[in-house]
Each structure stands twice: as C-alpha cells, then as structure tokens.
Amino acid sequence: MSFKNTYIGTIVYAVKSLATGMKVTLCEFFTRKVTEHYPENRKTLKISDRHRGVLVMPHDDEGNNKCIACGLCQMTCPNGTISITTKSVTDEETGKSKKVLVEYNYDLGACMFCQLCVNACPKGAIEFSNEFENAVFDRKKLVLKLNK
C-alpha cells in the first residue's frame, strides 16, 4: 500500500495540501484589491459604447429627429415594446397626405435589447445609448416618450 494511504501518509498529505491552500489565500490577503468603487468612480467610469442601456432618438439642435413614422420598428419588435401614434398631414405643394409622427412611446420595462428595431430602421432614427442608470420606483415612469 503506497505511503500516501498509510495512517501517517494521509496526515502528511492532508497537512501539505491544506498548507498550500492557505499560502494562496495569504498571498491574496496582501495583493491589491480588484473592486471598482462604482458610485465614487461615476465620472471616470468607461462603459463600452456598444452597451445597450436604453433606446434614444437623437435630435439635432433645432429639435427635429429623423423618424418618418414608418412603423417598421414597431413591427419587428418581438414583444410589442414600441408604440407609435401618427397622424396624416396633407402636404401643401404636392397635396398628398403624409404620415407625421405624433408620439413615440417606448416601454423600457418590457424591452429585451435585441437591437432588431435599430437594424430595421431605414433612417437610423433610433439607437441604443449606454446610459444604465434607469432604476425607478414607479412602473409608469419606465414608459418613455422618445420624440421631443
């Protein structure tokens, strides 16, 4: 029977393996800590810009956006997170009636961040920002109105 299975052998092997374990934790006791102090490092925190935090509709300085109210994003969304209300406006020169966006509601609570809406948008009117601080107390506050 090898030394390892004898009575003394098990004790020696046990003590050796326990000691190596404790050596590792002791070294860890004195190494630099890896914790990121979240609230303190808010200014310097760098989140990858591809991170999908919340859907936003960028507006240029005069406050109009690129959305043409085609409803493609509403259709491709798997669980009905986006709801667009439009109204038809007769254009003066051409006289044709054109759909204009009235309200662009986006339910952040139901979104699953699958980016199908952004891929489907022909005009690139909506995109994901990496703003992750969205916790709220009231469920209704999660329904955001994206167009100004």
Partner: protein
C-alpha cells in the same frame, strides 16, 4: 505592570464604607455583570466588523467602506436593523423551548467569557479549577443549538441541530485532551496561576513539540466547537439553507449571530491564555533589559493582541477551506484527533517527568 488589584481593592473599601457589606457585594456583582456584558457587546461589534473586513481582504475585495469612515458604523447599522425586525412566532413550534434556545447559547458564552484573564487581577471569575469550569460551562451551549433546531418545527433545522450535537460533543473530547496536556505542563488549573507561571516564558515555547501539537489540535477542535468554516455543518448555507436558526428572525437570530462570534472570541481567548501566555509579556530568560522593556506594555494589550491574532488565524482557516461532510468530521475526530491527543499527552508527561521542558 499595572495591577488592577489595587483599583479593585479601592472600590471595594469605598463601597464597604458607604453601605453594609451585603449591599456592597450586591453592587459589586452588578458592576461586574455590567462590565462583562458591556465588554461582551463591544467585542462582538469589533469582531463582526473584523470578520467582514478580513473576509473581504482574503477575497481580494474591499468589504464595507461606505458607512462611516472605513465602514466602522456598518455593524451599528446592522444592530439597529436587527433590533427593529419583526419577530415571527412560528405556528406549531414548541414556544417555550423556541424562545429559550438563544438565551441558553448566549448565557453559556457569557459565563465562559467572564473567566478570561484580561489583565493581572482583571478577571471576573477565578476558581482554582478555572480551566475545568470553562470546559463545563462552554459545553451547555450545545443544548441551545439542539433546542433551537428541534423546537422550530422545520426539517432543515432539525437536521442541522442533530449534526451539531454529534459534532460538538465529539470535539469536546479532543479540546479537553489538548488543554489537559497544558495542565500537565503547568501543574495547576487556576487560570491566574497558569498565566503567572508563563511570565517566565510562554508554554508554547517551554512545552516545545507537544505544546505546538496541542495548539494545532486546539485550534481545529475550537473551530468545530464554534461551528465555523470547515466544520460549519449545523448552519451549512448551501445545504440546509440557514441550518438550526432558519426559523429565527429579528433578535432571536441576532442573539445566535452575536453568540457565534463571541464563542470564537472565547476560543481565541482561552488559546492565548494557556498557550501564548495571556497577559504575560514576551520573556527570554537572560535578556533582562529586553524583558524590562516588554513589561512596559500593559497586560491587557498583550492579551487582546494575542487573542485577535488567534481570531485572525481562525478567520484565515474559515475563508480558505470547503466544508466537511458529517462522516468525515467524525472520522477526523475519533480516528485521528483522539489518538494523537492521547499520544501527545503521554509525550508531555514524559517530558515533564524527565524535566526536558525549558
């Protein structure tokens, strides 16, 4: 070495002058009780804070640091929250035993706490069979855990309690053996005499090999007595949700939580008393200047320094090892610790008889 006896005699004489002897004794008892409980709670809070910080350090993270300067007030906020939590009474639990259990555990740890020699003369109970009394008092803490497990009408806590019964009773044996080895070396069981004897060299150095083996055995069985780390089967988080105190909420759980930490302090206190010389300063025979310098550090600093070093050792063990299975716990005790303990006792007696100790 500052000697607290003079202060105590001064208080005693002033009290006797003011009131009849029986009233003075009563006031002294109340004073001693208040000091013991006060020290008990202060140490509990320091210990909880130290446990969280040391555990975080071992796990390369930071631990509580947002409440108060370095997270010092963290434990106070835990205490406040614990005081206010609702105490749920369980439907068909055995109400008397259910409510008695936490107090049994706290009482046993409070009695053993008051036997610890904080400094020369600063000791609440000092019998001539001190160590034997500590062993006896610390063993009825198991009753509290068994009652808690049985009476809270929850199958997990029942399993946890039975496990703790089996584990703590068997580890009393190896703890007793390791203490007995030291009593053989020192010749007396009175705690103050034990420490007095160590002023000319701590037992762990004078008893050389058998004392070191006894120290390691004592640390292992101390860990098992307080249900910590490799032996934390009674409240094994990942197996029995919260073990024997699953059904306790609010202050019931708070008492168990404090008692667990104070048991650890007591184990470390006893270890530093009988192995590392309690409040006796570091002594090397021959270097008188060095010994003189050592005496300037007050006894209580020595005692607390050694105790917190042993606590750090226990925490180091806790945060490194996985949990044992119940049959391995008992195999380790009966097949390894008891035979080695007896052998060690034999070696120590031979050394003492032949005079090979320093």
């Amino acid at each position: 070495m500052t000697d607290f006896n003079t202060i105590i005699e001064a208080i005693d004489s002033s009290l006797n002058s003011m009131m009849p002897h029986s009233a003075a004794v009563l006031v002294e008892c109340i004073l001693a009780a208040v000091c013991a409980i006060g020290a008990y709670l202060v140490f509990a809070i320091i210990m909880i804070y130290m446990e969280r910080k040391v555990c975080a350090a071992f796990q390369c993270r930071v631990g509580p640091d947002r409440v108060g300067k370095w997270g010092i007030l963290q434990v106070f906020s835990d205490v406040f929250k614990m005081l206010i939590k609702e105490i749920i009474d369980i439907k068909n639990s055995d109400r008397i035993l259910y409510n008695l259990a936490p107090f049994l555990v706290v009482m046993s740890s409070l009695i053993t706490f008051s036997c610890l020699p904080f400094a020369r003369g600063l000791q609440v109970l000092d019998f001539n069979i001190g160590i034997f009394f500590i062993m006896a008092a610390s063993s009825f803490g198991i009753l509290g855990i068994l009652l808690a497990g049985w009476s809270s009408n929850n199958k997990f806590s029942m399993i946890g309690a039975i496990r703790s019964g089996g584990q703590m009773i068997s580890y009393e044996l190896s703890m007793g053996l390791s203490i007995l080895t030291l009593v053989v070396l020192s010749g007396s069981m009175q705690i103050s005499e034990l420490v007095e004897d160590q002023t000319r060299g701590w037992f762990i150095f004078r008893g050389h090999i058998p004392a070191v083996i006894a120290f390691i055995m004592y640390i292992i069985s101390g860990n098992a007595e307080t249900n910590r780390a490799p032996f934390d089967l009674p409240e094994a988080e990942s197996e029995l949700t919260a073990g024997f105190h699953t059904e306790y909420s609010g202050m019931g759980f708070g008492l168990f939580y404090v008692a667990e930490f104070m048991n650890m302090f007591i184990i470390a206190g006893i270890a530093s008393t009988i192995f590392l010389g309690g409040w006796a300063p570091f002594y090397i025979s021959g270097l008188d200047g060095f010994n003189e310098a050592m005496c300037w550090i007050p006894g209580i600093v020595w005692f607390l320094g050694k105790t917190f070093f042993v606590i750090w050792l226990l925490m180091w063990i806790r945060w490194t090892f996985p949990r044992l299975r119940i049959d391995q716990v008992l195999v380790l005790e009966w097949k390894y610790m008891v035979p080695i303990g007896l052998l060690n006792l034999l070696i120590m007696t031979i050394c003492v008889v032949m005079g090979w100790t320093f």
